[in-house]
Symmetry: C2
Subunit: 283 residues, 2 copies
């Protein structure tokens, strides 16, 4: 018997689409409904088997839903949480999202939403956007951070964690502010570093790029508007990470200027040490 | 009939080993001889089929060789070019290397070497080192820069280019100094950027890393001593690239500080534009 009666995915992109594929391929949901503004994306989501039904009206989509996932860009999430909570959801329905930032969203919600909503951030994705790139196993073995606040209903937290576990994800709890500082460092800083590196490369040299440049800049191909919103939502934590990084780069410049071989070895070793610690869980 | 009678590979690591595998699997060489200081690496090279014969003495290895490739770390290349040219090579033998820097090496060579030697830099590789990771198709479709100087014998240049073409590589000519500036930007800067990012990441957060952090820092896992040598050989061009990059990062910091949305879109778009231009040749 399916675990969920009616799952609504608002914004069926890479993440929303991957959730739909996973739910449908495992038989976890009796019905998956896709909601969005782009008719093309919704049609493609249906053609790819990520949703059973397409709806353009939130009210109709959410009727009797027992799980709602918001997969839109971060700056529209809070409003969609509020709107979803005003529809006729099933009594035990849980609302969550897949946004990359959490503090600003949570701050916009009130008690009415905390009875339904717990934030989520699956640490999975790609520089590719759109349901065209969605895969059923996107969350398998990947970390998902859930971000309850003290008003969050314990039942909602539990159901949110259960949901990600069913998709194969490893769940970690964090406070929204702690989350935003963590992802500033582990996700948003790498994006800025990669985008700045890509932009700083003389165009006529790109033809010579090997795997080094290619890997290091890969995320810079990400969607501009998605990232503008993420950076804008997470300004202060990201600024802190960026300033710390700029100081590190300055240490490299000093070491190379002074031809300080011992310091170069230290700096290279520190980078290798952290990167190697990921190796066993390499992705 | 094999193209080469006896090919000598000095330093059978990832690149040298991949050359050996390619030559032997295509039947281009009648005999591939591996020379090196690590008996373990040489034994593994033989076991993996990258070389036919192992030699520890350069003199013996090079007797009657018609192609010599030096695959050692950059700071030992010039000396090995000089030593190789003093052995009893076949009359038309060509000596080349696979080093990541060229100006310092070339400056250490004289007319005697330029009759034999032309520098090469295949833009292929990995953060992995050692013949264990060698593959016969490593150079297939990848760029190799050859770096003749005005004293380089035209015959040697021609034969060096032919060699890389036979391994499936696309050959580009550059002056050694022009080469070093280009790779400072397209290869050495990405390494420093990745290593600094990896080192700047709080260790307890690495567990949360998604593909973004993982891709952006991948090259930081590279061998410390190899990279110490590369950075030391290419200090001035790399410093210039690093300072330019630090200025770019500062523009990001300013844009985020001032919450300048239009500027953020410009910066993100510039990074995406350059990265997307690689997409068709993605690696």
């Amino acid at each position: 018997m399916p675990k969920y009666h009616r799952v609504v995915i608002i914004g069926v992109g890479l993440l929303g689409g991957s959730i739909g594929l996973a739910l449908r391929q495992t038989g976890l949901a009796r019905q998956v409904v896709g909601v969005g503004r782009s008719a093309d994306s919704l049609q493609l989501a249906k053609a790819r088997g990520a949703v059973d039904l397409i709806e353009t009206q939130l009210q109709a989509a959410c009727a009797d839903a027992d799980m709602v996932i918001i997969g839109t860009p971060v700056q529209s999430i809070a409003q969609l949480v509020i709107q979803s909570c005003q529809t006729r959801l099933a009594e035990d329905c849980v609302v969550t999202d897949v946004g990359s930032t959490k503090a600003t969203i949570t701050a916009q919600l009130g008690d009415a939403q905390h009875q339904r909503f717990c934030g989520s951030h699956p640490m999975a994705g790609s520089e590719k956007t759109g349901v065209a790139y969605a895969t059923a196993d996107l969350f398998q073995g990947r970390r998902t951070i859930v971000t309850p606040v003290k008003q969050t209903s314990p039942r909602v937290l539990e159901k949110t964690e259960e949901f990600w576990g069913l998709l194969g994800s490893i769940v970690t709890r964090m406070d929204p502010i702690e989350h935003d500082h963590a992802v500033a460092s582990i996700s948003h800083l790498p994006h800025v570093v990669a985008a700045a590196l890509s932009a700083a490369t003389p165009t006529q040299l790109i033809d010579l790029a090997g795997t080094g440049w290619s890997d290091t800049t890969r995320v810079a191909a990400g969607d501009v508007e998605l990232w503008r919103q993420i950076i804008s939502e997470n300004r202060q934590p990201l600024l802190q990470s960026l300033r710390h990084y700029a100081t590190s780069l300055d240490q490299w410049i000093q070491a190379i200027e002074h031809n300080d071989q011992a310091r170069l070895v230290e700096l290279l070793t520190a980078g290798k040490h952290n990167r190697d610690s990921l190796a066993s869980q390499d992705v």
